[in-house]
Symmetry: C2
DNA sequence: ATAATTTAGTTGACCTATCAACGGAAAATG
DNA sequence: CATTTTCCGTTGATAGGTCAACTAAATTAT
């Protein structure tokens, strides 16, 4: 397969150049693949993986921060965090200065689960980024940034 | 807000430059906004909108083609198509040469629903694309393409 | 201080998405 | 031409995502 067979036939069509259409399409594929990898390695679900990954990087965070970092739904996040706490993957401690907050940290169990699948996930990431030059990637991220900003600066 | 408040504080972190992380994050926001617009205009759901949009462009298609165009799940698509047929938004006719296929076309009702929300969706699209030059957009799409190809050329 | 507003997180109800298993029809193989 | 294989689509079971309503704590305003 030299290139996407599915795009060849009808690629002249307008919607195929549409931004959100293309993003969604790629996103659907990437999510499915990531979920597959995690399943193959008896890892966490994709959502839980993302939470663990953030807590692994940040050392400590809160639900609200994860919401703003990911744009996930806070309801769902609340439920996933409860489950992860119950599984011993993360720890939750009430904040001393603000009793509404829960300070979240990754546990040793969580870190181990994270590190078990990390190589496969990293290999995948490298594979995906392989064909893209530094310069292109910078442009790409910059475009994402500006779309993101544009999305923020609008009331619907 | 001069730029994303949420990215300022911790943007030096590794995961913030990660491709799939950034895609997902943006995608989550864009989807939520698109869904909001559709709701505000008493339009179809986002998923149904995408189906209608494709059928509006293609004049005729099949479930399998929409799957390959969008990477949606065929099970869900099957159910949404049934619902849309029941609502009179699209027509489904068995293919004469291949009795497995159903040829799908948008109905007048469907087209009207599509056109009712189209201006708002188009305005949003223009707003999002506004700050991006032709050249950058070309690079952006090219990068998406190569990621997509890379995702295809790997077994997990 | 007290009231109004904002912020952090939880919960319920519902909808959507996903995977796997299946049926029948067409195509490919022998 | 019979049989395996592939392809198109449906269905069941279940997990995940979304919206809105809510409690409680903190902040801001009066």
């Amino acid at each position: 397969m030299t290139r996407d067979s599915e795009t060849v036939e009808r690629e002249a069509l307008g919607f195929n150049k549409n931004l959100t259409y293309r993003l969604t399409r790629l996103q659907n594929k990437l999510n499915a693949q990531a979920a597959q990898i995690l399943r193959n390695h008896d890892g966490p679900t994709l959502t839980d993986w993302r939470i663990l990954r953030i807590l692994n990087s940040l050392k400590q965070s809160t639900l609200a921060e994860i919401v703003s970092l990911t744009n996930m739904d806070k309801g769902q996040l609340s439920r996933r965090i409860s489950a992860l706490v119950e599984q011993g993957m993360i720890h939750a401690q009430p904040d001393v200065d603000d009793f509404r907050k829960q300070n979240l940290t990754i546990s040793e169990t969580g870190r181990a689960a994270h590190e078990r699948v990390l190589p496969a996930m990293r290999a995948r990431r490298n594979h995906l980024a392989n064909e893209i030059s530094e310069e292109e990637y910078a442009t790409f991220l910059s475009v994402l940034d500006r779309i993101n900003t544009a999305a923020n600066n609008r009331d619907f």
